[in-house]
């Protein structure tokens, strides 16, 4: 709880072009485990800043350091002040693991958290914003996981914060609920709220964030707008070919030999991946498969995405959590793919 509800409306508050959040050489260890290892970051006013990284990379610790709920070394400034001296009216937080009192209704919960601030938004309007108006009178414990998370998001925005920390806000929320949270974040950003968003859903961060930082082993390994990160680290478009059998080295070589371009072919668990395939070259790739006598079940073409950046920079397999959606790809299955020569498939 806040011990220094300081009237620290500093002149350095992000309103005059100064950054809202600054962290320099931020470090935090738990015993021998290093959670943050010299993090540097800077978030500008009105920005949606995404933080991604593998489990255990230090994302939640960084959020805690920035909200003053854990002790960290280094220089941390929020609206120009140390995190614990920031006017709490200006900050909203949705912790990653958060279970509010379960036998309060959604209305009561939002009113409860709103009641702790000097000024708070109307409960009904907040619940409408998160799509909970119809279930406002249900006890929290009777709500679905997605409704619970949306109610928790409501408690984070009830004070109309200038800076909003959302630590995995859409975990466990169904696609419709996710969309409503995405729209809410976009609206808040349009209204000038600075949003610090951590998520495991790469499509979410790619869609919402103005800039993204990738945290690995407690350090920021890349930061920038999603487009720039993808251009720099995402690699080339790819065509994933699902086979009805294992992709042997022989098949891989045969397809590679028949490709007109310099596209690289590699085997994957489910078949083949042909890299650097531009949309106009998909037909050539299909021709090469046919010419090599390779029967396939489906094709999926995908542009590089933040997921590819994540995979490349973390060296880990990306696996969305339940309820999260992997980045979209454009696929066709065997029945849709016309065989140019009626050959074996």
């Amino acid at each position: 709880m806040n011990e220094t509800a300081a009237a620290s409306t500093s002149s350095v508050d992000g309103a005059d072009g100064d950054p809202v959040l600054v962290g320099e050489d931020v470090r935090r260890s738990y015993g021998d485990v290093v959670a943050l290892d010299g993090v540097d970051l800077r978030v500008e006013a009105g920005e949606v800043f995404g933080l991604i990284g593998p489990n255990g990379a230090g994302k939640t610790t960084l959020v805690r350091a920035l909200t003053g709920t854990t002790d960290a070394e280094g220089d941390l400034r929020v609206f120009g002040a140390p995190p614990r001296e920031v006017d709490p009216q200006r900050v909203g937080l949705l912790p990653q693991s958060f279970d509010p009192p379960e036998r309060l209704t959604a209305t009561e919960l939002v009113a409860y958290y709103g009641g702790l601030y000097d000024e708070a938004r109307g409960v009904d309007s907040v619940l409408r914003d998160v799509g909970m108006a119809d279930d406002a009178d249900a006890w929290y414990e009777t709500l679905s996981g997605g409704q619970q998370r949306r109610t928790c998001v409501a408690t984070a925005i009830v004070n109309d914060p200038d800076l909003l920390f959302l630590d995995e806000p859409t975990t466990g929320i169904d696609p419709a609920g996710r969309r409503s949270i995405h729209r809410l974040i976009e609206r808040l950003a349009d209204d000038g709220t600075t949003v610090f968003l951590t998520s495991h859903a790469m499509d979410e961060v790619e869609r919402l964030a103005d800039r993204v930082a990738l945290l690995r082993d407690g350090a920021v390994v890349a930061v920038g707008p999603p487009d720039e990160l993808i251009a720099e680290h995402g690699g080339a478009p790819r065509l994933d070919v699902t086979l009805d059998g294992p992709a042997t080295d022989q098949i891989t070589a045969r397809v590679g030999d028949r490709l007109a371009s310099d596209a690289a072919v590699e085997s994957t668990r489910g078949g083949l991946r042909i890299r650097d395939v531009r949309p106009e070259a998909i037909g050539d790739a299909v021709d090469a498969l046919d010419a090599a006598g390779v029967a396939f079940e489906s094709l999926a073409w995908a542009e590089p995405s933040l997921e590819d950046v994540y995979l490349r920079l973390t060296g880990e397999e990306y696996s969305p959590r339940e309820g999260e959606i992997a980045p979209a790809s454009h696929g066709i299955d065997e029945t849709d793919a016309a065989s140019p020569d009626g050959g074996e498939r």
């Binding site: 279970d99 036998r103 702790l116 601030y117």
Partner: protein, 251 residues
Amino acid sequence: MTRIGRIRTEATAAARSFLRRRTAVFFTFFFPVILVVIFGALVRTQPTGGGLFAEPAGYYIPGYLAVVVLFTPLSRVGSEIARHRDGGRFEKLATTPLSRAEWLLAHTLVNVAIIGAASLLIFGLVLAVTDAEPVVSPALAVLPVFVAVGVALFCGVGALLGALTDSQDGVIAASNTVALPLLFLSETFVSPDLLPAWFRPAVAASPLTYFARGTRAIVYEPGPWVGDLAVLSLLAVAFLALGAYAVPRTD
């Protein structure tokens, strides 16, 4: 929002949460009922004047009250802290204007109300099922103050236990470990002359002793109680301050 407003908001949410947990409410009030029924009506004072319950029934009124004044806040506040910590609620509250002292004060007020009601129930039951005859005097009006101050004191201790232990199971075990010796070694059910002479000075170290002495001086054996209330109040302030400091604000 003023300090009072924040405390009222927190207390309202805490009270609603508690009152909607029916089993918690039931056992909070059933516990003192079975206590009075067993010890006040079934075991009773030995007719020969011997045994554990050798004093007249009225002597044990402070003991019955002490049970709820001691046990309930210890376990409730301790568990509430464990629940808050496990659910990330302190992390959330740390970014609101609510201070740790305000949080503890709000939960103390809720406990005072709950335990005040339970104490009233005990008092009525003792009169109904035992032959206790409390002294009726203007000082009887101070009895609720003793209960409230005692509850506040043990809310502070409960906050310390909740902060020091790392789970709800740990809180229950710790609160039982603290409460049981205090209950029987604080001039509540066991009179000092039943204890070894060398141990008697230690009785004065128990905060509950001052609750028992003061309330006994009001309802059973008229005598001075202001000193006991003063000591109890000082200890309550001290433990509330320590408890508020111990309430977690970080991970």
